[in-house]
């Protein structure tokens, strides 16, 4: 498919928004939450207005249709990330819950006092706090792959940590939501498996921007969120190898995750249902299925190329502003996000000035406080790009930053 930017922008109704009269929206905050795509809204509206019913247990037409749509979404998502079996796709609320699920089930069953979990210094809180909670509870150790001065994972240090700490689990983000760094997860996982570790990849910032093949990566678990990939809020995914999932204890208890229940005991259902207690986010799963199909139609290679072009241009133009300190490994090595700081100018103020120009960027620690601490920064400003962004929007960003510098410095 040829890249038709105008048609693509048409697929995102929120882009019609003016932030205030005469000031069109320049949405550069997709790493926090991407805009929703029209086909997603349409798939959900179709469910809500024609097939709305609870799933799995109903015999009537709407219930059968709803069940079929929900399971089709599972298959569509499996296809997007090249999961071998739709039964390996578990619907969660978001990437955060997906990671908690692994910690609370696989971790609960397989980790004991003294065991090590190896993470990285650049992880999002979503891939830190669940392990900290487990560490507190069970006395496991946490170790961290350092981030180099070039904003990359230190793979030599990783190799030493793998050999000295023999971690039971290695958890790593595929793409940093701050630095934009694309980590070599395939290599990391190969090294982790070589010392017998189970591996978890936080793909929240990868799935919306690049082709993901969980089998090629070689991971055991892969987590991501719907709202960052043009899908609805309230839905996320944990992919896991069937064999691992089958051996894991259940997560939450209730309807659907059981095969049978008596007053004092229950038998668990098969995967994936075992991990989906209660009425799931049916409409949202169906919406996410539509998002997966939408991305596949456009082609992830196209999506990635577009995002990389915008990111590289932004980095180059920011590098030309003397007051700006870029926070990331640089052109050719960043995907989706460009973060920076300006001495003496608080990110909130930058963001506020940009907002007057219609540009939405994020200011703060982006749920990666330890990464900011590592570089002595309380906060940073992040512009993040997606398939609906265009070059003219970089102009608005740069002009707004120049204005903020002029105003405040």
């Amino acid at each position: 498919m040829a890249w038709d930017a105008a048609r693509l922008r048409d697929d995102f109704p929120a882009l019609a928004r003016e932030v205030r009269p005469g000031v069109p929206l320049v949405y550069l905050d997709s790493a926090a939450t991407a805009l929703i795509a029209r086909p997603v809204l349409e798939a959900m509206a179709d469910f809500e207005t024609r097939h709305r019913a609870n799933i799995h247990r109903g015999v009537h037409t709407l219930a059968e249709e709803a069940t079929a749509l929900y399971e089709q979404a599972r298959a569509d998502i499996a296809a997007l990330i090249h999961a071998p079996d739709p039964r390996e796709i578990i619907f969660t609320r978001n990437a955060t819950e997906a990671i908690n699920l692994v910690a609370r089930t696989w971790g609960q069953a397989n980790l004991k006092a003294g065991d090590t979990v190896l993470l990285t210094e650049m992880e999002h809180h979503a891939n830190l706090v669940p392990w900290q909670m487990l560490a507190q509870e069970k006395g496991i150790h946490l170790e961290f792959i350092p981030v180099t001065g070039e904003y990359l994972l230190d793979l030599d240090a990783m190799q030493r940590l793998l050999e000295t700490t023999r971690p039971k689990l290695v958890g790593v983000m595929q793409v940093s939501n701050v630095l934009g760094t694309v980590n070599p997860v395939r290599e990391i996982i190969a090294a982790a498996r070589a010392v017998g570790a189970v591996t978890l990849v936080d793909g929240a910032q990868a799935v919306p921007h690049m082709a993901v093949d969980v089998q090629a990566i070689g991971a055991d678990f892969y987590a991501f969120s719907g709202h960052k990939m043009f899908g609805p809020t309230g839905i996320g995914v944990l992919w896991g190898r069937a064999q691992l999932l089958e051996a894991m204890p259940p997560f939450l208890g209730g309807g659907d995750m059981i095969r049978s229940v008596s007053l004092r005991s229950f038998k668990t259902n098969d995967i994936p249902y075992k991990f989906e207690a209660g009425t799931p986010a049916i409409a949202q799963a169906i919406g996410l299925g539509a998002a997966a199909r939408y991305l596949q139609e456009i082609g992830m290679e196209n999506v990635e190329a577009h995002s990389r072009a915008l990111v590289d241009e932004t980095i180059n133009r920011l590098a030309a502003v003397p007051q700006v300190r870029l926070f990331g490994p640089g052109t050719g090595r960043q995907l989706a996000s460009v973060s920076f700081t300006i001495d003496g100018l608080h990110p909130h103020d930058i963001s506020q000035v940009l907002d007057t120009r219609g540009a939405a960027v994020r200011a703060g620690h982006h749920c990666a406080m330890p990464l900011h601490t590592r570089f002595g920064l309380p906060a940073s400003t992040r512009a993040s790009f997606s398939l609906y962004n265009q070059r003219e929007e970089i102009d608005v960003l740069i002009q707004g930053i120049l204005l903020a510098i002029d105003l405040f410095l």
């Binding site: 109903g58 059968e64 249709e65 069940t67 095969r259």
Partner: protein, 126 residues
Amino acid sequence: MDDLYRQMIVERHKHPLHRGELPHVDFEFEDENPFCGDHLHVMVQVDENNIITDAKFDGSGCAISTASADILMEYVIGKPLDVVKGMDKEELLDLMGIEFGPVRLKCALLSLKVLKGAVYGLEEGE
């Protein structure tokens, strides 16, 4: 599900030809579908060449699971055990000639699941 087939299912359910007990049982198995409360017991008799000479079912279930069991028993009588072991769900669904939604599919396939349990000599709940 269209009315013509529904009629077949209703008839099979009301007047099954192969519901009952077998005087002598070589293989048997029972299982349930807790979602529906269906419970099915299948009994099989074979001769010295492992050809099925008779098969019956018992238990309580919905019309679809009953009709499916009745059709399946009819089909396997006279066939070698190995043929039954090799049967897949498409074969049974073809016999019934009906398309089922995801929920009723479980009812339609319970009989095959239990029959396989019998001929493979499983323990209940395995």
